[in-house]
């Protein structure tokens, strides 16, 4: 049964069309699990380390503490200076006020003295007594001296006032500057105090951002690993092989669950979800004939397709046009040459002949005229006037005839000349022009032919690739049908057979599951039987025995099941030996322990003798292996499990 069942699982794996290798998947999963653990640890460590203390720039805080102290001191000093200046200012204001009064007094004095001097002058103008006048003069001189002195005092006091005013302005300005300076320093102090009150300002933001980026990367990597792990776990080869291992460990229900999972996946593949075997061939036949027809039709289209570039048609049309043009020009040239030939030969000969005739007629007429003249000369003396007149009339007629013939000769000569000119022009202009045009057209044809070659080489790769992909798709559809044909049964049928084989074992597993006590609500025992302890045990045993009797008969698997045509490479496994002796029982128990890892099977494909092998000296040759030789047990356990 083991063999049959494992073959059936292999069939299901084959149906899944997965190309994965179980050993590789297992190794990768182990690696990924290790990597996940490492990444989780790294993330945890990083998260733990990402506290504000880590990013605190202690030196910056110390600097700020120092700045705070120095600012406080500076502000104190500035405030003292301010107070001092303020006192000076107040003093200067008082000084200014005093000086202002002094100036005012001096000015009043000058006014008074000026008024007095004016009065004295008025008085003196009315005095006649010299003594009195002398007295007034003396007084006037004194007052004028006083006035001069007063004026000087005014000037000096005003100067002093201006000096004091300037000093006052300067003091005010300095005080203002000092006030601003104090305010600036106070602002700095306030900002420093604010920084010191929180740690925000001393956090190394770049370092923190770097850690946050690293955390993000690690989380992404972890996510990628988990995705891959999930992919591996969902790989049909993985599911199938786990099912096998579960089966070999006698975990039949779990094994069957895994196989159900595998079948669910297989049913998503084309033609795998057909419910019954009888339908399979019908559906496949219809699908195959349709797919083959589609593939063949498309293949023939692809075969006849040139995949030329999109410009090819234009280039070809141009080529066609140039060829037609060349043909036309050649035709024209031939016609021109024919015409030229005709002109040079037939027409020229004809005109020459006509000219010859006319010339001979002319000569004859000239002779006739000479004869007429000679006769008229002879007859003029002997003949009657009437006869002479008749002769003269005949001569005139002959002369007229000669004139006509001569005119005709000139006309012929002109025509011959025209013909020759025309022939020359035709030859030099039209023929050479046509020949040049033909040569140019030929050159164009050569150029365009090159372009056709280039264009045909630069095939429309996209169209080609797209058609290839479509053709592959159609071929794949046919391959899917062919692949499906390999299996005589549907995945569901294989699963049903497995279920049938495992049914009894699964039932047994279910029975052997520990029975939960009948507890209603939370912790309330529904029924409590008051029996002696010994009886209770006996009854329990009895119940178990009764349950054991009810185990259904183990059904033998259907050995006549139709196997797929393609048998998996994996070898068969011998059924487990029946345990009947104490000695065997010990081994059997050991073998079914859950922690015992499943053995891996490998087919031996080649055996060769050791003669050719060269063992290093330090390694013990096979012949030298003795009983007491040490065999590293850990090396065998931990050896490379390939």
């Amino acid at each position: 049964m083991t063999n049959d069942l494992l073959v059936k699982i292999d069939t299901l794996i084959e149906m899944s069309k997965s190309t994965s290798n179980y050993d590789t998947l297992k190794a990768e999963k182990t690696e990924i699990e290790e990597a996940i653990e490492n990444k989780k640890k790294e993330i945890e460590d990083l998260k733990t380390s990402m506290q504000d203390e880590k990013y605190m720039k202690a030196s910056d805080r110390i600097v700020d503490e120092n700045i705070k102290v120095s600012l406080e001191l500076k502000i104190k000093k500035l405030e003292a200076d301010y107070r001092k200046l303020d006192r000076e200012l107040k003093k200067k204001i008082q000084e200014e006020s005093d000086q202002h009064k002094t100036v005012k007094n001096n000015q009043d004095k000058v006014v008074r003295l000026t008024k007095l001097i004016g009065t004295l002058h008025d008085k003196m103008s009315s005095i006649s007594d010299k003594t009195v006048m002398s007295h007034y003069e003396t007084s006037l001189v004194k007052d004028e001296e006083k006035l001069e002195q007063a004026k000087q005092n005014v000037s000096e006091s005003e100067e002093e006032y201006r000096r004091i005013s300037r000093e006052l302005t300067s003091l005010t300005e300095r005080l203002e500057i000092l006030k601003e300076e104090i305010e600036g320093e106070k602002e700095k102090l306030e900002s420093t105090l604010e920084n010191l009150s929180t740690n925000e300002a001393y956090i190394d933001k770049e370092r923190k951002a770097e850690d946050e980026r690293r955390l993000e990367e690690l989380e992404q990597k972890l996510k990628d690993y988990e995705t891959r792990k999930q992919e591996i776990e969902q790989d049909p080869v993985m599911i199938g092989n786990i099912a096998k291992e579960l089966y070999l460990k006698d975990c039949f229900s779990k094994c069957f669950q895994k196989l159900k999972e595998l079948v669910e996946y297989i049913k998503t593949l084309p033609y795998m979800d057909i419910t019954s075997t009888s339908e399979v061939e019908k559906v496949l036949k219809a699908a195959e004939s349709k797919a083959v027809a589609e593939r063949d039709e498309f293949a023939s289209i692809v075969e006849s397709k040139k995949y030329n570039g999109s410009d090819t048609k234009i280039v070809e049309e141009r080529q066609k046009y140039l060829n037609a043009k060349k043909k036309e020009l050649e035709k024209d040239l031939d016609s021109t040459k024919n015409r030229l030939k005709k002109m040079d030969t037939t027409k020229f000969q004809e005109l020459n002949s006509l000219l010859g005739i006319a010339t001979s007629v002319q000569e004859s007429l000239k002779k006739d005229l000479e004869e007429y003249r000679r006769v008229i000369e002879q007859e003029r003396e002997n003949s009657t006037p009437k006869k002479v007149t008749t002769l003269l009339a005949a001569l005139q007629k002959k002369e007229e005839e000669l004139t006509i013939v001569q005119e005709i000769i000139v006309a012929y000569e002109n025509e011959i000349e025209e013909l020759m000119m025309e022939s020359k022009d035709l030859e030099t202009e039209k023929v050479s022009m046509l020949e040049q045009k033909i040569a140019k057209t030929e050159e164009d044809i050569r150029e365009i032919s090159k372009k056709v070659v280039v264009s045909s080489k630069a095939n429309d790769i996209l169209a080609l690739e797209s058609d290839k992909a479509k053709l592959k798709e159609l071929n794949d559809a046919i391959k899917a049908i062919t692949d499906r044909r390999k299996f005589k049964k549907t995945p569901s049928e294989v699963l049903d057979e497995i279920e049938m084989s495992l049914g009894s074992f699964m039932e047994e597993e279910k029975i052997n599951e520990p029975v939960e006590p009948m507890i209603e609500d939370d912790f309330r025992i529904v029924e409590e039987i008051d029996l002696p302890e010994s009886e209770q045990i006996e009854n329990t045993e009895q119940e178990i025995l009764e349950e054991t009797i009810e185990i259904p008969e183990i059904k033998e698997p259907n050995t006549e099941l139709e196997m797929p045509e393609v048998v998996p490479v994996l070898p068969t496994i011998e059924p487990l030996p029946i345990v009947d002796s104490e000695e065997n029982q010990e081994i059997e128990q050991m073998e079914i322990e859950e922690n015992v890892p499943a053995n891996e099977r490998f087919k031996v494909v080649e055996i060769e003798n050791l003669e050719e092998m060269e063992l290093p000296k330090e390694q013990a040759p096979v012949e030298d292996f003795k009983d007491e030789d040490f065999i590293d047990f850990d090396a065998i356990i931990g050896g490379d499990n390939k």
């Binding site: 496994i573 891996e600 087919k603 055996i607 092998m613 390694q619 096979v622 292996f625």
Partner: protein, 77 residues
Amino acid sequence: MNLKTNTIITLENKHKYVLLNETEYKEKKYFLAMEVTENKEVIPSNIAIFEKAVAENETYVEKINDPKLIEILTEQF
């Protein structure tokens, strides 16, 4: 194919092992094997115990992973 000591076996996964010693336990044949490279150089760290199995005229080896059985077999080797 008959497995015996002093031979190199090639498994279907392309790994090669030299069979160093053999023993029988519970009517089954076991081999002590050491992996060798393509150039037939031994890899001392890769030691394994194989159980011989024959099915459908094909020879298989089953790598023993059970520590208890390994202990018993190493004693016999």
